[in-house]
Symmetry: C2
Subunit: 325 residues, 2 copies
């Protein structure tokens, strides 16, 4: 007679662990527990850590945090494909050393000097297009291009645990923003469909287009004016610029996210949460700290994580699955 | 026996006009009818004009559209008070002709050359302050400064009919944004309290601050880099930049809003709505088309309104009240 109630309890617990777990792709480790505890504490109106709802601002890096950044950042794959497609009709690009490097898949010159070549090519592939035409080119590329390792469309490679985390935080009243070194105009094309993050909640590297009436119709023409690189110490600037208030939760994966992790968690009058996705799973994804390819260096930020109490995701141990099935 | 049902009907109609009318400060004119018809049509999921909810983006100019812009734009009143307060400790401003004009309340030199002097003073009063200190100065000014005509705090002068319109559109699933020539950092301090518009939904003129750790604490220092003037043809650029998608409804009051009205209503695949607030009420507010003070010129946009079918608010006839009681 003792077994029946025990079994009933077990069934209930097991049911609730499956059906009610908002983060089923996360193993039940201290990482998951830290996330859930934070969200619970700051959303409990009767608790001492409650944060007023309008201040529930959570910021997420994109490359390496919400999807992979190897073998090269996905936007760079797009830019290089664009350069290769357009170069034959652009003899004026012949003396552009970054274009020439791109045509040879020679990435090192592009990554040098804080990605100066990458941003140069970013501008080059946009300038002169209408913003609508640029979006259509991104859409067309995403519809056909495949990641060299998984042979799948890039947007299908969003991390399943992070998709669950985004949904979980939104279900708890958080507004989720992307704060990326990638181009705002690039990310906004697909962020709503892929992450549930609308264009108006994407902060990224930007240039400013120019407005004109062309044949009586309003268009915005991409230009190279006003380039702002939303990376490293640029990220807190981008947060202030696009969002206008300090986040309480910040998710990144590299030294490029260190400044926004500091901005979110140091001396914040609200309870805050910082998290770093550490790529430790060479089998299912990639394993790296200082990535020789130039993207995703995680050195000083990892050291600071211990000191600041930032939560570090060990992909191999903490994530049950990496990608959606 | 005939009177009783008629009276009952009358009571019901009258009750519903009061209790259910989301726009009680608007007279029942064709202007109000056009607004209500548009909102009804695009939010009716079974109708032919339905717009998917994420695209319910409505943009509002601020000065002259949501609150007055006379005798000078309210932010300029702040800037001039700041200049007067700080100038004694800034001998290096002695040869700045715009500072000298401001000290003498001589506005014409500030308005010349597309408000170049105004934006110069805007930068000058911010540069070097932390973003938090700048916000505190704006707050302190708003708490003490009074409008010269009404002798009331500036934020109490938001137009009551427009506050109702903002709430009405939000109640119908619209996301409401400010798209202003005023400074984003200025407006974001009070837009949530005054209009219910959070900082992340404010597009405005901007400069880009600089991030640093000062005594170990993260701060953003206002600088003059990257100035972008979000006015005139800059407004569609600012919309693309901050919001990342085309609005379906646009509310302005001057030629400075003409480009964003065009961007919203010409060749838009979605049903769109453009509206101009025409200042026609010298008794209760102001009456002007081409304002000699330099703000709020309404000339070419008014001509275009007739051609494009933009709705024009006649403040005197269409608004029952101007300010909250």
């Amino acid at each position: 007679m003792k077994t029946a109630p025990a079994l009933a309890t077990l069934l209930i617990v097991s049911f609730s662990a499956n059906a009610d777990d908002p983060l089923p792709s996360w193993n039940d480790t201290s990482t998951k527990q830290a996330i859930v505890a934070y969200v619970h504490n700051v959303t409990d109106p009767s608790g001492p850590s409650f944060i007023p709802v309008p201040e529930h601002v959570a910021v997420f890096d994109n490359d390496g945090t919400l999807w992979p950044e190897d073998p090269i950042p996905f936007q760079l794959a797009f830019v290089i494909d664009e350069i290769k497609a357009v170069a034959p009709s652009r003899p004026d690009w012949k003396d552009d050393r970054f274009v020439q490097a791109a045509l040879k898949d020679d990435f090192a010159p592009l990554f040098a000097d804080h990605y100066a070549g990458v941003f140069h090519l970013y501008e080059l592939t946009m300038t002169g297009l209408t913003t609508d035409d640029y979006s259509r080119r991104v859409e067309a590329w995403l519809a056909s291009a495949k990641h060299p390792r998984w042979q799948k469309p890039y947007t299908s490679l969003a991390y399943q645990p992070m998709l669950e985390l985004l949904a979980y935080m939104r279900a708890n009243g958080f507004k989720t923003f992307i704060v990326s070194g990638g181009g705002a105009d690039f990310i906004r094309v697909w962020s709503e469909k892929t992450y549930g993050i609308p264009p108006e909640q994407v902060a990224g590297t930007f240039v400013l287009p120019v407005f004109e009436l062309r044949d009586g119709k309003p268009v915005l023409i991409e230009s190279s004016r006003g380039l702002f690189v939303n990376d490293g110490p640029g990220k807190p600037v981008g947060i202030h610029h696009f969002i206008g208030r300090r986040p309480v939760a910040c998710f990144g994966n590299s030294d490029g996210d260190q400044a926004m992790l500091e901005y979110t968690t140091i001396d914040n009058p609200r309870p805050s949460f910082g998290l770093i996705v550490h790529h430790t799973d060479a089998e299912r994804e990639y394993a790296y700290d200082a990535n020789p390819a130039g993207s995703g260096k995680l050195t000083t930020a990892l050291t600071e994580a211990a000191q600041r109490g930032w939560t570090v995701v060990d992909m191999k141990k903490d994530w049950k699955t990496i990608f959606a099935p």
